[in-house]
Amino acid sequence: MKVLARDDMATEFMPFWNAVDAGHLSFPVCRTCDRFHWYPLNLCPYCRGQDIAWSEVSGPGELYSWTVVRHAFDPEFWDQIPYIVALVVFPDAPGIRLVTNLIDVAPEKLSFGIAVTPAFDARNAADDPLRFRIVSA
């Protein structure tokens, strides 16, 4: 499934995808209290600060939880099941948990805390989502 067209999404969601287009992963952080939040909001949900910056994540993320979806709840996913939905956390963006897919890996290879990294090269168009791969040892 494609990511919603930029014009159709809330303005506070756009910086994430603009950064992805540029090959970066970045998340909203409050300049007043220094806390990250997700999903993007106009006010910091912790201190109501309005000065929200976007901070680039440098290193790989860690696998926090995952599921192998084996049923096409939305018919659009018939040709993709089974697929892996992962929840990824980042040491340099505490408080963020990113939903993504893991590609090029068998579910049996997964375990809690393994390193995963964004697969920018697997995106073919601006409306492709950003999937992840495990970091090979």
């Binding site: 939880s65 979806v69 709840f73 993709q80 948990r97 939903v99 897919n101 809690f112 989502p129």
Partner: protein
Amino acid sequence: MKLDVAIVGVAETPPMRRSDKGVRGLVIDSVLAALDDAGIAPDEVDGIVTDSMIMPTTVPHDYVAAQLGINSRFDAAISMGGAGIVCAPLQAALAIQNGLADVVISYFGVDWGTRAAGPYGFHDVYPAKKVFEKPYGFNAQPAYFALWARRYMLEYGLTERQLGSVAVHQRRHALLNGGGQMTTPLSMEDYLSSKLISDPLRVPDCCQITDGAGAFVMTSGRRARDCRKRPVYAKGVGFGSVPITGDAVFTQNPELLVIPGAKAAAGDAFTMAGVGANDIDFAEIYDCFTISCLMQLEDMGLCEKGEAGAFFEAGEAGLGGKMPVNTHGGLLSYSYRLGIEHLVEAVRQLRGEAGAAQVVGAEMGLVSGLATPDFGVLVLGGENTR
């Protein structure tokens, strides 16, 4: 606040996957049957309370009032889905005890068995979901709760068999009830060999999908004594929530493995009722999934954190156990109408009308309603508890 309101009539349409009646017709059927159960005429109703998110867009109050000839003096809505259903008696009590209404009805119905997007469609109201989740096929409740379940297994040592014991016990209750959607037995072996939907959740870990409705009638404790059936009293109602949006709650809640609002709602309900967890004879828990049933029992203080799986596995949640849970089979095996069936079943238990699944000596029951990030808890007492 001390509650003095009783549930004097309950009804539901028969649980089924698909009905050709339409959700409005199903709701009207259930409201009329609940009024008949109470022995109260439709034109005596002067108040309506429902959830504030689903019913107002599908079976609005004005439609029900017009169909039944209700001259409403009080009209209110609270929370959404399951949490709204169990919190409705709070608003009814506020109206009845302050002289704003005499007879208040509440109802809930869904047609998610026949509607194309089923239970998944209403999540489109959440803007972040379309941008950050649906493109990855993270688009349905089984996948959301699967992420919780896997992490929960790591942190609390929950086993596959413990998850399965929830499904197995509740199926047993559904067969005793006899009126639910699931009519075939489920053994642990059946569970362990059943189809995975979204690992680690299997088909029997997920609730039914249902077309149907239920309704209940409330009035003052005083008037309740003159109604057709034994009154059941609303002893305590609690509402809890946390400041997080409906699209972020499944993945971003800082305490991801704690049911939002459950502790606060249970605390308020117990305080209002003047009882503790040990006084609860049976519980009807919003078991949209096996995992969420376990987490609610723990976060409401009915089990220690991490121990609800063992509670089920030891048979303590079955009939004859310490605290029978989901005595009709629950959302897993009876029907999924977001918990209106739980409230109806709790009233039947406290009246002694639960047949083969009757909890002997049931005097105090608890009903929970989950609608993340909202949570509702209702403590009900039998006629000797007024």
